[in-house]
Symmetry: C2
Subunit: 239 residues, 2 copies
DNA sequence: GCATGCGATTAACCTCGATCATGACGATTC
DNA sequence: GAATCGTCATGATCGAGGTTAATCGCATGC
């Protein structure tokens, strides 16, 4: 089913058969989208949301003139812009990173679900709040880690998420992202991402080639974000 | 009423009298909390949420040993940890920045609301997603602005939010934050925040003393975040 | 065959902001 | 009144990472 991967045991929350069937029935259409296509734009009014079935999508904030910060990447099973259902207006763009298969859920269907199935409604709400929790992890990454820590943190996080989705064996996975994409995720320049990638490779921690990450030393890679970071306050300021 | 400021015309969404009364009735207790107290800790299981009536609160991620990144600040009228209702487990700490008055809403009351009042449920959901939208603005700030841009961006954003809450006249407002707090919001050190504040003062843009922000040149201050930022890609990379 | 373009790579240079250190000032507490 | 603490302030130093620019490999199209 198209919704198979949605909320597949996220922190103990998952859909029962009836809920999954109801959600499946809410899908109006499915389609394939090529890579690097914009699905929805900032400010746009939406009356439908997108469930990602296959491929990688992202959400990003653009300043004028190409200054971009990615705020989320989405994997198969993610209800990419479900938050547009309560919000109606997006504050960012939504697009594909790789070729993707998407399922469309009209908001009128979600209206019906929220009227009839409060438990499923809470689970949908939950799913949008998981995204917010990931936003917070990203805030920590940008605010408190240095370049190497940020990239390592991102690779580790994504590895874990892909494992939950059954798309990584924990050793390697394909993201379809370029170094420039990683730069826009980690708040760095492409040039410096390249330096970081080289460093990680030379240290034998992981490689990143053709959008494919290979984890060579998972344990050590995971410690990097804890080692490389800034001090906000003076060293004496213990709390 | 305690809920008076909650969702007061946020992007066109607000509560009608019946909804507001229902929410008001959901409050079990109110209390005052002194400044710098922790209300909830990361990992904790919660069966109630906190509506902020007076004062400033924050949410933050702590690494061990005092490395802290604020991920949100909350103003009167904010339903601070409503996201704990669907999530149940917090991924961060919640605390007061100033002395505060809070109202407690047990999750069993929210269960009842989600069963009986789908429209109010959607509005509560909406409120949690507004917080996520602010997370995204913060991600842009950390990922793409330099130190002066970040502080200017934060002051402007907070000014707007306080105006919505009726707590700023647009010219000055009291936050009760220290320079160290701003550092933990903007991903900087206290030392550098101090220099940025001095710069903003010397440029005649705004002042920040004793937790009080005075905007001297709102228009120019608002342009700062657009001027001071990084280039991710090469200059030729137009999109 | 050549042109075009994207992505990765590397070098040279220099700035922003972290780090370290020190001190002033006011509000406490004893 | 002295000691302590929190906050603000400022100088000196230096390194991480931005900026600019050039090159290379590889794919695609004509």
């Amino acid at each position: 089913m198209l919704t198979d991967r949605f909320l597949r045991d996220r922190r103990g929350v998952s859909l029962d058969a009836g809920e999954r069937a109801r959600l499946e029935a809410a899908i109006s259409t499915t389609s394939t989208v090529e890579a690097r296509k914009i699905i929805a734009r900032a400010g746009q009014w939406l009356d439908q949301s997108t469930l990602l079935v296959e491929g990688i999508m992202s959400r990003y904030l653009d300043d004028r003139d190409g200054l971009r910060q990615l705020v989320a990447i989405h994997l198969p099973g993610d209800f990419v812009d479900l938050h547009a259902y309560p919000l109606k207006h997006l504050d960012h763009d939504v697009g594909t990173m790789t070729p993707a298969t998407i399922a469309i859920v009209p908001h009128v269907e979600l209206d019906a679900i929220t009227e009839e199935m409060p438990e499923l409604t809470r689970k949908l709400w939950f799913a949008t709040l998981l995204d917010a929790a990931i936003h917070r992890a990203w805030l920590f990454r940008l605010g408190r880690l240095d370049a190497i820590g940020r990239v390592a943190h991102f690779f580790c996080e994504t590895n874990v998420r892909l494992q939950s989705a059954g798309l990584s064996d924990g050793r390697q996975f394909t993201l379809g992202l370029t170094q420039a994409d990683v730069a826009e995720i980690c708040g760095l320049t492409t040039v410096h991402v390249n330096r970081v990638v080289r460093h990680l490779r030379e240290e034998g921690l992981c490689t990143f080639r053709n959008g494919k990450v290979e984890i060579l030393d998972a344990a050590k890679l995971a410690t990097i974000p804890h080692l490389r970071r800034f001090q906000t306050r003076g060293p004496a300021d213990d709390r």
